[in-house]
């Protein structure tokens, strides 16, 4: 089946500079080699700056991508002449630069041979398993997505100096390891694809479950993760059922973006969200990707996660959700890729299927897990179960614990509201549920 065109989560032209910079970086790095990555970054930056100086007077050229490629190529040729260290290979590089096709039409930005191959090779290099996951994420955002160091730092609530350091080390590692910037003839092996998917998953998750701060930057991270996952899904060297499964999950979750907060910026739970406002286009893409993920026999963690997201996305209402099926999916996921956060979500499903008492027992087994020590949703979920059981004073204590963890402003307001609702009842205990 032919994959559809990439989703327009954001208008293509909105990020034209960033996207085109990534394309030029990948191709020029292939030609110049890793040891000249810094020079290539300068060349690309200069080409963009020239556009910013010229276009206000001349207007935007008919094919801005071709304009930028042309200018970057000229600047690269200049750099060749200036750098003594490049003289030895000048002829060879010059020939390669002159052979470059003009940049594709804006409408088919991604569907053209050499640039597309270079960008795919670049993301696989930046996500190489020999790099630490943190380094992979930073490198991908810098070299593939072309965010600046301050932008990456903002997205990950880190100090710019920390990110800059991490990038210097990661680039050195890339050079030393001599990772090839090319597509293997039979496509990338499974573990290389897995390594890229892991980075995309981290990216999307960081955007989706913001801890604190600005939401806007975060949704951009999700959009970027989707854009990059679409590269993999539409390139024969990388596409596989797992890739489609991850993309399906991204689409399903992104479809709910607009409904996660109300008009006043208050957090809305899945059960409170207006399902008619979910993005139909993204849901449709999710279903298509899910269908493609089922080609073949593989069932990966990404398949189970996509399945879970699909159950929510296709339920007519919260009440009509097929919780028993969700619980089997969570059981499968916990067996295949155990994680404390998955276990907590499984506990919620347990509560929905077997009642709050059983849910509470499932949560209690997680309380000693160090990975969930400061995770706001652990005490919050526990508090919800306690509240359903009428154990209001214990619920109030648990909500307070959740509030002590770091969370976004809407989350804080939500938890405070919950706390207030049980704190009131504690002050005027109902005769049926006396506080213990």
């Amino acid at each position: 089946m032919e994959p559809g065109p990439p989703a327009q989560v954001h208008l293509e032209v909105e990020h034209l500079f960033r996207h085109q910079a990534g394309q030029m970086l990948a191709t020029l790095t292939r030609i110049f080699g890793w040891e000249h990555l810094d020079l290539v970054e300068d060349v690309v930056q200069e080409a963009l700056l020239q556009a910013l100086r010229q276009w206000p007077f001349s207007g935007i050229p008919a094919n801005p991508r071709a304009w930028l490629v042309q200018v970057a190529r000229n600047k690269a040729l200049d750099a060749l002449r200036r750098r003594a260290s490049l003289r030895r290979i000048e002829q060879q590089l010059q020939a390669q630069l002159l052979e470059l096709p003009p940049a594709p039409d804006p409408a088919e930005a991604w569907n053209t041979g050499v640039f597309r191959d270079d960008q795919l090779a670049m993301i696989f290099a930046c996500c190489h398993p020999s790099l630490a996951p943190e380094a992979r994420v930073a490198l991908t955002l810098k070299v593939v997505s072309c965010l600046s160091v301050p932008e990456i730092a903002r997205a990950f609530l880190a100090e710019p100096a920390t990110i800059a350091q991490r990038l210097v080390r990661a680039k050195r590692r890339l050079r030393e390891a001599g990772i090839a910037l090319a597509l293997p003839e039979d496509g990338f092996p499974t573990e290389r694809v897995g390594s890229v998917l892991q980075v995309l998953y981290l990216l999307f998750n960081e955007g989706y479950s913001a801890h604190v701060g600005e939401n806007l930057v975060r949704e951009d991270l999700c959009a970027e993760a989707i854009r990059l996952a679409e590269w993999l899904a539409t390139h024969p060297a990388a596409a596989s059922p797992r890739v489609h499964a991850l993309l399906a999950q991204f689409y399903f979750l992104a479809a709910r973006f607009a409904t996660r907060v109300d008009g006043d910026g208050n957090l809305l739970l899945l059960e409170e969200q207006d399902r008619s406002q979910w993005d139909r286009n993204l849901l449709q893409r999710g279903l298509q990707a899910l269908e493609r993920s089922a080609e073949g026999t593989e069932v990966s963690e990404y398949h189970l996660q996509a399945g879970i997201a699909a159950v929510h996305a296709t339920s007519a209402s919260f009440a009509e959700t097929d919780w028993p099926y969700l619980l089997t999916l969570y059981d499968g996921l916990q067996a295949l890729a155990p994680s404390p956060v998955v276990a907590l979500n499984r506990a919620i499903a347990v509560g929905m299927v077997k009642g709050p008492e059983a849910g509470l027992r499932a949560v209690e087994t997680l309380k000693t897990d160090p990975a969930l020590k400061n995770y706001r949703w652990l005490p919050a979920v526990e508090a919800d179960f306690l509240r359903s059981l009428g154990r209001t004073s214990e619920a109030a204590t648990a909500y307070r614990l959740a509030l002590a963890c770091s969370c976004t402003e809407p989350e804080r307001r939500f938890l405070e509201q919950r706390w207030a609702s049980v704190a009131e009842r504690t002050a005027h205990p109902s005769p049926h549920h006396p506080p213990p």
Binding site: F17, R53, S58
Partner: protein, 120 residues
């Protein structure tokens, strides 16, 4: 409608460390200003000028002399110009006031004088 020239004292020199997203945002503002001029029929022509200062031609002892223009300081030279149509100075100045180029340097507004009347 009278014609005016907006002379941009200094070429746009964006900081070298702008991120691609920053650049796109800046360009967006400059672009909408330009589009507005075009859609209201005010735009005539514009050029960015080279930044090397150009050549100065004068007569010295009756003979044309050619020397290089001012070089080092970018703000010493005209970086670019726009020719527009506007009802009067007030409107031309208003266009300059709203220009994102103002962030990048001084704008000189001059009216064209096709009749040679010198402003009478």
């Amino acid at each position: 409608m009278p014609r005016f020239m907006l002379l941009l004292h200094s070429a746009p020199h964006p900081p070298a460390d702008l991120s691609p997203e920053d650049m796109q945002r800046s360009l967006g503002k400059l672009r909408s200003w330009l589009e507005e001029l075009k859609s209201t029929g005010r735009y005539v022509v514009s050029d960015k000028l080279m930044e090397e200062g150009g050549k100065i031609v004068t007569l010295q002892d009756g003979k044309p002399m050619v020397v290089d223009g001012p070089y080092s300081e970018a703000k010493e030279i005209i970086g670019g110009y726009f020719t527009l149509r506007a009802a009067d100075y007030e409107e031309a100045v208003e266009i300059a006031r709203n220009s994102p180029f103002l962030q990048l340097g001084t704008i000189i507004v001059r009216q064209a004088d096709p009749m040679g009347c010198g402003g009478e």
